[in-house]
Symmetry: C2
Subunit: 277 residues, 2 copies
Amino acid sequence: MLKIAFQGERGAYSETASKKMFNENILISPSFSFEEVFTKVKNNLVDYGVIPIENSLYGSVFESYDLLLQYSLTIVGELNLQINHHLLANKNYELKEIKKVYSHPQALGQCSIFLKSLKNAEIIPAYDTAGSALLLLNNKEMPVAAIASREAADIYKLKILKSNIQNNQENFTRFLAVSRKKIKKEFKNPKTSICFELKSMPGALFRALSVFALRDIDLMKIESRPIPHKPFEYNFYLDMKGSLSDDKIKKALNHLAEISLSIKEFGTYEVGKTYKS
Amino acid sequence: MLKIAFQGERGAYSETASKKMFNENILISPSFSFEEVFTKVKNNLVDYGVIPIENSLYGSVFESYDLLLQYSLTIVGELNLQINHHLLANKNYELKEIKKVYSHPQALGQCSIFLKSLKNAEIIPAYDTAGSALLLLNNKEMPVAAIASREAADIYKLKILKSNIQNNQENFTRFLAVSRKKIKKEFKNPKTSICFELKSMPGALFRALSVFALRDIDLMKIESRPIPHKPFEYNFYLDMKGSLSDDKIKKALNHLAEISLSIKEFGTYEVGKTYKS
């Protein structure tokens, strides 16, 4: 059975993403931090790690970008998960009785309109969404609720008092699966991710992008991250359509190497499907 | 006297940046959040707001980027502040007596090597660096310390037990000053910031950068931020050398408009000087 590490408690959105990506029948390894996920994969304690890389409202997850570069892991899969928040409580309580609502501050913010309608409830920030659901198990005699995933409701046997309570329905998180091993296979709709540090010259980034534009390679995302010992210089991360085995991508990367100090290939994988959480 | 808003308690690094930017003789308006800073400037409660936009180790401050676009303020100044963390305590304690150290989690992480040498001290995360210095005033009879700025030591009359305790000395934060009013003046070393949303087409970003490269306009920074109701589409932020009054920049922006859905000009300002905190 495949063993998958993710950051967060049981019932985290990353667990939902892991199951959609690898199927329900996996051994899961909840982890305290993103770095713990990478370490488990690197040291062969799990087969894959699943990490959030970007949210459609909040943007890139910096820590994931930095860890991709620090650890030499390969990206082997992608998935977009629509984030649907639900109000969970122990089974003996109704919505109008709720006196306290716990969740991660970002989730509380994403549900601010609904929360304003709960006039008698105190809103309390917690460490994470699944962790706030877990909290309810220790408060069975209290009219308290948590904002978390449907998965968390199932795992902790909680009731969904109200579903889809987020302000903006278009809230998607993009997850990546990372592995120690490179996987050789054919892709229907391949996507390739790289990172590079450019030589210092005028128009450096324009030259780098021209390497792809001149070969009709479509870029899907660009991200820049600071280089720790070079203040205000950047590594660039690119996602592009196509595979590392495509002739034109090989040539583009050779061309990019002429103007780069370093290039790292994270791998080719299938463009992610979108699921509801 | 100029009135300046910044996020944080008295003694925050943003206060140091405000004083370096506008001189010591200002009225300061400490604010709870970045959004409060923007609101105060917009509603004429202060003359300028000073916000961090980027750190050389941690990268861009997303919230500042998003607020620049939401509020129609003008960038009128820039400054780089070297972040030097110091261990502060009440005057009657010595380093070896310290039992607890408070600070913002990021500051605690930046001083992890020094903190490991304090074998008997408990490390406790706090809301912000200056706030943790303020905490010491309520604990005068306790051997506790805080990691914060030299400015905080001066303001709260605390002793610096140990200075420059950060792991990485190359830790710079770039701050911007924002104003309601556009300022017309001559610059020695001008920098211009804009934001744009591109029309959807192949090689769109390459075309956007070519608008500047073809006119020998040097780009200094590119940042992308998600567009809230268009999942996985991005606004691009560019900093470039030169002034909005330069003929070639005017022409480049006209050219950029041909391939953009919208362009926002944040203004021209002098490239920031670097100071120690």
